[in-house]
């Protein structure tokens, strides 16, 4: 269970105080697929980074599985991200000099697991996203959709209970975007909690629930 209570995030822009989020309260149940929609600058990505224990709110409280995330120290927050959160970034953020398998293994670099277990788990998750046999390929040797799948595989490999996706179809053509959305939906059906940020209504329609943000506030 994810719970945001009266979360506000402000930034200083010179002498002016800019509200990225204002008194946002939200609950996401375990196994839910939530899409956060809104135009550019509405605070979607800020909300996602706050959910991902990466961006401390100016006010309010974030609780995930009963843990008050921002009361943890900085290094504990890192541990929390490692164990609880998988990210799929808008730019995918695959490292171009690593193969698909190595990109996935990156997320296990600090895990205290035997090397063979790490490799087995990376191969398993790549097969799960339909990339079996393409483990040794570099990102440029994969299509856009396949690169997106590698990014999803990397987010899943830690078996984190929460998958956060920031505009996962933003830079993809429609057909490839659909592939990624189908993958997220399939994962959700297996019980994976997914929170996705998007400004694309079609992408949002894949989610079980849509939360609309406008000027840092939930409007529907």
């Amino acid at each position: 269970m994810i719970e945001l209570q009266d979360v506000t995030k402000t930034y200083n822009a010179g002498e002016a105080l800019v509200y990225a989020l204002r008194d946002v309260s939200l609950q996401v149940a375990e196994g839910e697929f939530v899409a956060i929609m809104g135009p550019s600058g509405s605070g979607k990505s800020t909300l996602l980074t706050i959910l991902g224990a990466m961006n401390s709110p100016s006010a309010g409280q974030v609780t995930i599985d009963g843990i008050n995330v921002y009361q943890l120290g900085a290094e504990w927050q890192a541990d929390f991200r490692h164990e609880y959160v998988g990210f799929v970034f808008q730019q995918l953020q695959l490292l171009p000099y690593l193969t698909a398998q190595e990109n996935v293994l990156l997320a296990l670099a600090i895990a205290k697991l035997p090397k063979a277990t790490k490799i087995a788990r990376a191969r398993e998750v790549l097969a799960q996203v339909g990339l079996g046999g393409k483990e040794g390929r570099l990102p440029y040797q994969l299509s856009g959709g396949e690169q997106g799948r590698v990014a999803v595989a990397r987010a899943l490999v830690n078996r984190a209970p929460l998958l956060l996706a920031d505009e996962p179809t933003g830079n993809l053509d429609r057909a490839t975007g659909v592939q990624i959305l189908n993958l997220l939906r399939a994962l959700n059906r297996t019980g994976q909690t997914v929170v996705m940020v998007t400004h694309d209504a079609h992408a949002a329609s894949c989610a079980g629930r849509i939360v609309n943000l406008l000027d840092g506030q939930i409007v529907a």
Binding site: M54, E75, A78, H82, F89, Q93, L95, Y97, L105, L106
Partner: protein
Amino acid sequence: MQLTDIALNSLRRRKGRMIFLVLGLAIGVATVVALVAITDTMQTDIAVKMDEYGANILIVPKASDLSLSYGGVTVASAAYDVGELSLADLDRLQTIPNARNISVVAPKLLGAIPVLRPAEGTVGEQPVLVAGVRFPDELRLKQWWQLDGAEPGGTYDALAGVRLAQALTLHPGATLKLNGQTFRVVGILAENGTQDDDILFIDLAAAQQVMNKPDGISLVEVAALCIACPVEDMVKQISEVLPQARVTALRQAVTLRMETVGQLGRFALAMAAVVTAIGGMVVLTTMLSSVSERRQEIGLFRAMGFRQQHVMRIILSEAALVSMAGGVSGWLAGMSAAVLLMPYLANVTMPVQWNPWWAFGAAGGALVIGLGASIYPAVYAARLDPTIALRSL
């Protein structure tokens, strides 16, 4: 995939920059190694030459009545016939633990003897100081001696100090009698401002004969190679094997030598400090630049749950690997440079020693510089805000 794999990958991707960094460190380390190797060789060479240039330990019999002085050091007077040292004592010197540090052992038998000049048919009004010496050892000990004439070759050859020669009108080829034994003056010592100017030097065995002291020795001058040994230790060791003797370190001579040698070492250290500072700056700027380029990657690591210490470990692992490579290659280059340049830089006969421990020292030193200079970039990387870092695309 481990943290070290990430560091290795990063180094492979930035070959040019890392080769530049290795080169920068290697040049710094090579300069220090070359300087240290050259100065070390020069120090050893100078120390050996200086140690051979005069005595630094004096052995005299323990005596209550001291009346004559020699070389600025008061010794037991032969006239009072102390004679507690013997030739057998010289062999005992070779049994001390630091015997290998003994360069020259120069025994002397001193006596005041009236001189008869057969050519003039006169006997000196007062006795002169006669020193029986082993000429090969004495000439090696007193390399500053300049002779007018020849080096003594025969048992009854003599060298006269310049003031004694003037007083007795001695010249190379002159003869004189000591207690009935005829000696031939083969050389006159040039004035050197010491008591040697007033002494007649004859062979030790001949002196023992004419002074009627078979096996007798008045004092022993010892030149010890003391760059690697404290002279006080040797004094103690000699005192133990010669309990009847008073053993004295000529501290002034030793201190002067050590100071001269130490100045060279201090120069090398000063240069090393400058080069170290420059090397550190090269590492600092290169690593900072590398971190700045990798903000996105570091942000990704942090977003995936890498702790700050994990990021620091990655950066410091890279620095360690590069530093080790720079240290070892710098050692090789520095030693090679020292070997090649030594003949042109200094008139040193001693070869540069390839000390393998210096390789560890060079690698260790480079490691300390590399890691020290990378701490700030590593901390900077570790503290990068993951959200800002990810937005830096």
